[in-house]
């Protein structure tokens, strides 16, 4: 079966800070903007690759103590984050466990409180833009 089950293990680092143990979910859409190169000679629509237009959304459990999620993300709002690293599982990089690096993305907003009685607090954040590279070298 061609499925991947995430029981645990997806690595998530914002810069040098490892937030793996606070990550509930993450989705990185690796997107290349299609540019139309349609001409009068074309017989159908066609495209060439434009710029990358990536987006990473993540859900994290929220904690306000030192060296936790709030302390990590709050100073980054309104800034370009040099690197965010994701990896499907812990262990060495390989073709089947690539390290995915999002460089130069922008964090526009952070829900600084998301409180519901009787529930663990989480925040949904979105990193916009940047360039995705894949590292499969152990």
């Amino acid at each position: 079966m061609a499925t991947t089950t995430y029981l645990a293990g997806t690595q998530f680092l914002v810069g040098a800070v490892d937030l793996t143990d606070q990550l509930s979910s993450a989705t990185l859409s690796y997107t290349v903007t299609p540019l139309s190169d349609l001409t009068m000679a074309s017989t159908g629509t066609s495209f060439v690759a434009g710029l990358q237009d990536n987006e990473l959304t993540a859900t994290l459990f929220l904690s306000y103590v030192a060296a936790e999620v709030y302390a990590t993300l709050k100073p980054l709002v309104g800034t370009v984050i040099p690197t965010i690293t994701l990896q499907p599982a812990s262990g060495a990089e390989s073709a089947t466990n690539p390290k995915i690096i999002l460089s130069g993305s922008f964090l526009s907003s952070l829900p600084v409180i998301n409180a519901t009685a009787g529930e663990l607090s989480t925040v949904d954040i979105t990193f916009m833009g940047g360039v995705v590279t894949f590292d499969i070298t152990p």
Binding site: A16, V17, D18, A66, A67, A71, P75
Partner: protein
């Protein structure tokens, strides 16, 4: 160059030296409580001595 020690396991082994990529990263991690700056030799000015006070008094009389 300033040296830093890791105090949060989120950035590495606690107690190990942390080498930031740049000042911005170091500042950000310091504020967040992930690393601490190693103490350096004090650069406080030399304490005023009795002789120094005598010199000041002498010069003010001129």
């Amino acid at each position: 160059m300033d040296k830093y020690t890791i105090v949060s396991p989120r950035v590495g082994k606690v107690g190990a030296e942390f080498v930031p990529k740049d000042d911005a990263e170091a500042g950000y991690l310091l504020i967040g409580g992930f690393i601490k700056k190693n103490s350096t030799k004090s650069t406080a000015p030399r304490a005023i001595t009795k002789d120094d006070n005598a010199e000041v008094s002498a010069s003010s009389e001129d």
